[in-house]
């Protein structure tokens, strides 16, 4: 499948041996595979808010990122907001893009394909009559998402397509977006 000469080791910065090791280990201990991802949010003002992500649960124990990460969100001025940060739906696109791109690197590494550059543009359509409550028949969310990758790698166009297709098949965010998920929102 790969066209990279054998004397040049492929390095996309992904430790696939560790991933394959985890795959084998977790097949034996399914309970360690149960993760919980967490995020907290604070309202700042208007449509502006700040989310903080630090801890998560996995491998049978509480885990922590190296440091807390924060993500702000707001809405643009044409929504009568301050535009202090990207809109939440744009952050969803960023999540999808990052997840698929991480997958491209991992799948390419597993298939011994050296990547030189990977970029993608994402575009999602939305009819905002949904969120504004103008027309009940219009959904709030995207009516579709288009992702277009540009990839320079040591592989044929068909092999590159296969890497991108496999990345979708193994992507968490792709699954979250393409399949229904139960969401429970409570007030404590």
């Amino acid at each position: 499948m790969a066209t990279t000469p054998a004397d040049k080791p492929v390095n996309n910065g992904v430790n696939v041996e560790a991933l394959f090791g985890a795959q084998a280990a977790l097949a034996q201990t399914p309970e360690a595979a149960r993760f919980k991802w967490r995020s907290t949010v604070e309202w700042i003002n208007g449509t502006h808010s700040r989310s903080t992500i630090e801890g998560f649960y996995g491998l049978g124990a509480e885990q922590k990122h190296k440091k807390p990460f924060t993500f702000e969100a707001d809405h643009p001025e044409i929504f009568a907001a301050q535009d202090a940060a990207a809109t939440p739906v744009e952050i969803v696109l960023a999540g999808l893009a990052s997840c698929l791109t991480a997958g491209v690197a991992a799948v390419a590494q597993a298939r011994k394909v050296q990547l030189r550059s990977v970029s993608a543009t994402l575009e999602a359509g939305m009819d905002i009559r949904g969120i504004l409550g103008v027309d009940e028949d219009v959904r709030n969310g995207f009516d579709g998402i288009k992702v277009t990758y540009k990839i320079d790698a040591d592989a044929s166009p068909a092999d590159i397509k296969a890497i991108v297709a496999q990345s979708q098949k193994r992507s968490a965010v792709y699954d979250i977006i393409t399949n229904p998920t139960n969401v429970t929102v409570e007030v404590a």
């Binding site: 296969a162 297709a165 496999q166 979708q168 393409t178 399949n179 229904p180």
Partner: protein
Amino acid sequence: MRTTAVVIGAGQAGLAMSWSLAQRSIDHVVLERGEVANTWRSERWDSLTLLTPNWQSRLPGYGYEGDDPDGFRTMAETVEFIERYAARLSPPLRRHCPVTSVRRDGDGYRVVAEQGTWHCQAVVIATGAFNVAQVPKLSAEIPSGIAQLTTARYRNPQSLEPGGVMVVGAGASGAQIADEIHRSGRPVTLAVGEHVRAPRTYRGRDVQWWMDATGLNDERYDQVENLRRARALSSFQLAGYADRRNIDLNALTSIGVALVGRLAAVRDGKAQFSGSLRNLCELADLKQNRLLNTFDEWAAASDLSAAVDPAHRPEATRVEASPPLGLDFGRAGIRTIVWATGFRPDYSWLEVPVLDPKGHIRHDGGVVTDAPGLYVMGLPFLRRRKSSLIDGVGDDARDLSAHLASHLAASSAGR
């Protein structure tokens, strides 16, 4: 009763094993819950034919003897073919003798069946991979007025109510059933999950001719890159019709079948489909093209390029720009759902702890390593890609009977 080996099941796998054991003069009995070829006989729909051409049913000491080597057998013909094999072997067979328990007994096994109890040194499980039709949990959410049946119970379109039909699953079974139901005037919506696309004929030869000639069918379980995945793959999206037509998704949409994504959920009487249809079709197209590349490379390397028709690539699967993500069963006029969502084996009688958490026997090429003297046959990619084909059981029986013979020798030496 005492015997050396008990073979459970008298389908092609059990009979081939009986032949191999007889060749080695290993005393054995074959226990069959019903008649020879029971599953072929009773749990298949009317129009089903084998997916492999007649020439490709090669059993040890037996093969196709008719004048239509490229045709496809009906189920009745398949049963008759295996019956004739049984008649030729005249194996030590007990018909109508379902096994109710297999457990360890010293360094051997105790097999309890309807006609008695056998004590033996080895057991070969040849009960097949297709015992229980799998139906997803979400079937419980389907509105009550809609008839539901599995591919094991489905017989023909005429026995369904008039009106729309949703077929769930687009493997060989789902695609064939969608094709014939839609042609009967009942509009079909096909929910498409992962599937394996293949053309019936390529460069003028049957796809199974290519699989056989290139050696792909003989690829061994210890040589394949991802065995777990290879064993889980669904069968080629093929039919064995006399006109050799394809039943891939393009063929189905061209007669008017509506494609939707994988059935992901049922809520408030409505079906929700995954938005991944386009990617699943892309994966299947890419995989098919890799298979055809392998055929082309083999033909070129074997100096056969001129002997077969020119190479071509089938049209990519046509998927509409925005396939529907939901469907109201009532409004869409769906009266029946056919679950073509696969089968699993039934080992409820097996009291030896060798099952993995998913209920499959842990084995190494059919050798159940956790239980010396226990063997399994006829499962997908058991020892070779062809292991679940009629054509594949002969080589597996030869290998596993050799292992079984050395197990007997070792355990008698240890006594």
